[in-house]
């Protein structure tokens, strides 16, 4: 499989501030890569570099094997949705959608057809004659997506395309994008903050921090075997619970004060005895039960119970820190109730406290 996008040693500085640092990234033909990362980590900047909208400080970018480091944005065969929408204010929605096509001298009837199709997908048919100023936030965003969709390009760069949409429309569009991607087979680089979006859409997820890719892997891999503490904490909502302790008995068990958990079943490398490790446990991988089981459960006291539709999130005080656990919503738990949390070590993650890398 050829690489559709190849980023080599990409560095970008804004004046003195270095935003992207020596980045390397390969995206295969037809692959769907989602960029995730905290706000300000450089995701939009990376997309801008790929699109040729920022002059990079150093490095090279290849698209479909061609070195496009210095090519014009329009010559790169990309379509882009901007985080700030960037709709052309003086054009109607139809004008916004058809502008790129007209530039590419697509015949009029094809333009019509493409616009109509995009309008249908995005449910903006009735808005086609309006100008952006008369649209709601979500409607603007859909127009911005539409502008990319109508173009026949190999690579799509989407910067938070769905963030202003309601859940229903969002899930519809998510499916639609997935379907489009399957049908057109184009390459996607997609920025989102919605982990559901990331996990459902992505072939691979790139988790970034401070201009550096922390882990680039398939969603389940990222979710289940985060490469480091940052990725572990960043992915999953609510966040993974972390227990700061040590491994003892040559890596047979995890100890934190009185607490002793057997590490049997942990899928990791050589653990060994380490002074400072961090044990990561996802809220949905803990089971609340009434009885203690030595070496497998953690004693805890319920603090707060947050219902969230299908499930509730229960916040507990355990092992000296606050932990959260996901339980079915019917199971209401009064604050102060003492319970025990059963750990499924096969799904846990263990990190070295110094390097923050997974062990």
């Amino acid at each position: 499989m050829t690489n559709s996008i190849e980023v080599k040693d990409l560095t970008l500085n804004f004046g003195a501030v270095s935003v992207l640092k020596n980045m390397n990234l390969n995206v295969a033909e037809g692959e769907f890569v989602v960029l995730l990362g905290p706000s300000g980590c450089g995701k939009s900047t990376l997309l801008n570099c790929l699109a040729g909208l920022l002059e990079i400080t150093d490095g090279q970018i290849f698209i479909k094997g061609k070195n496009v480091t210095w090519a014009e944005p329009s010559a790169r065969g990309i379509g882009m949705v901007f985080q700030s929408y960037a709709l052309y204010p003086q054009m109607t929605v139809r004008g916004n959608l058809s502008f790129g096509l007209k530039n590419a001298r697509v015949p009029r009837d094809q333009i019509e057809a493409k616009v109509a199709r995009a309008a249908e997908i995005l449910q903006i048919g009735p808005l086609l004659h309006r100008k952006p100023a008369a649209l709601s936030g979500g409607q603007r965003q859909r127009v911005a997506i539409g502008r990319a969709l109508v173009r026949d390009v190999d690579v799509f760069l989407f910067d938070e395309p769905l963030s202003n949409l309601d859940a229903k429309l969002r899930s519809e569009l998510r499916v639609e994008i997935k379907r489009l991607h399957a049908k057109l087979g184009n390459t996607m680089v997609y920025v989102t903050h919605d982990q559901i979006e990331a996990l459902t859409l992505a072939d691979r997820i790139a988790v970034m921090r401070g201009g550096i890719i922390q882990q680039l892997a398939a969603p389940q891999e990222i979710y289940n075997r985060p490469a480091n503490l940052f990725v572990a904490g960043f992915i999953g909502s609510p966040s993974m619970n972390f227990l700061h302790g040590a491994t003892v008995d040559g890596g047979q068990a995890f100890r934190l004060g009185d607490l002793h958990l057997s590490l049997a079943g942990y899928e990791g490398g050589m653990i060994g005895t380490r002074d400072k490790v961090i044990l990561g446990l996802r809220p949905e991988h803990l089971v609340v039960q009434d009885q203690a089981e030595p070496g497998v459960t953690i004693p805890a006291v319920v603090e707060l119970d947050e219902p969230m539709g299908a499930d509730s999130l229960v916040w507990l005080q355990a092992a000296g820190t606050q932990m959260s656990v996901r339980v079915p919503v019917e199971r209401r738990m009064a604050p102060g109730t003492p319970v025990h949390l059963r750990v499924d070590m096969a799904k846990a993650s263990l990190f070295d406290a110094a390097t923050e890398a997974r062990v």
């Binding site: 804004f14 004046g15 920022l54 090279q60 070195n67 480091t69 210095w70």
Partner: protein
């Protein structure tokens, strides 16, 4: 495979091609013309430009001329007043016009029309209106206020204000338009935000909208300042520089010496001094504008 970074000279060729007229005009006309002027200011060119080196003679004579000194002083006074008032009034009017008023078109046209009229005649009209014998003074006296005195054009102390009244009359409409164009470019959500923040309208203008209009302001300042430095027609038409030399301005000195006195060298020396003073203002500005930060 690894492509070299292309020669930056050839990037964005269309943009560079489009800038060629500007570059040529800049180099040949403005830079070239300036150098030409400066060079000739060291000659004793009279009717025709000639290379007849006389060193700093023209400058010596220039700075010995009371008329020139008065011109410079006048320019400073008139210039600062005119700058403040044109921008102030233009802005005030633009703000008023921006209040979603009715008859905007009519008001705008009224304010702008003076801009379209030739100074040769409007100077005359203002000369009449300000004339004590048949202008405002005589009207007010005719109404019974006998001691009323308003005779700016014949009082050396006041003549600049007389010019100012006419100058503002002519120019503020255009400044208003410029400012209005700037105001019209402001995102309405900014207004909403400041209204929620409870910021009074005047403060919003002063602290938010106007700073956002900084570029438009700079444009206005340059246009107004250039107009002031080149101020000529109005003075000729209204006061001919009088009474005495009380309303002389540098451009008039330049023009008179170049074409009336047929002493090009003197005119060039005077304009070189004017350009020098512009440079003194412009260079620090350019440094601030471009030197400090890099474009992203």
């Amino acid at each position: 495979m690894a492509l070299r970074r292309p020669n930056p000279l050839f990037r964005n060729l269309a943009a560079k091609a489009a800038a060629v007229p500007m570059i040529l005009a800049t180099l040949v006309v403005f830079l070239g013309g300036t150098i030409w002027t400066v060079v000739h200011s060291f000659t004793n060119s009279r009717l025709l430009p000639r290379f007849n080196w006389v060193g700093f003679d023209q400058y010596d004579r220039l700075w010995e001329s009371t008329r020139w000194i008065v011109s410079i002083q006048n320019l400073m006074i008139y210039g600062s007043l005119s700058l403040v008032f044109s921008v102030g009034i233009g802005l005030l009017l633009a703000i008023l016009m921006d209040q979603k008023i009715r008859y905007e078109d009519t008001f705008r046209t009224i304010m702008l029309y003076p801009f379209a009229l030739s100074f040769i005649v409007t100077g005359l009209v203002w000369q009449w209106i300000l004339n004590p014998d048949f202008g405002i003074q005589s009207i007010v006296r005719g109404l019974g206020w006998e001691s009323f005195t308003f005779n700016p054009l014949h009082d050396p102390q006041l003549v600049l204000y007389g010019l100012l009244i006419a100058g503002l009359w002519q120019g503020t409409g255009f400044v208003m338009c410029l400012m209005l164009a700037g105001l019209r470019g402001i995102d309405e959500d900014i207004w909403k935000a400041s209204r929620v923040d409870g910021i009074p309208a005047w403060k919003t203008y002063l602290l938010i909208v106007l700073p956002m209009m900084r570029p438009v302001f700079i444009t206005t300042l340059v246009i107004v300042a250039a107009g002031i430095i080149k101020l000529y027609d109005l003075v000729v038409a209204q006061t001919s520089g009088g009474p005495g030399n009380a309303s002389q301005v540098p451009a008039m000195y330049v023009y008179d010496y170049m074409f009336q006195a047929q002493n090009l060298g003197q005119g060039f020396a005077a304009s070189t001094m004017m350009l020098l003073s512009v440079l003194i203002v412009l260079i620090p500005w350019a440094y601030l504008e471009f030197g400090g930060r890099k474009h992203g």
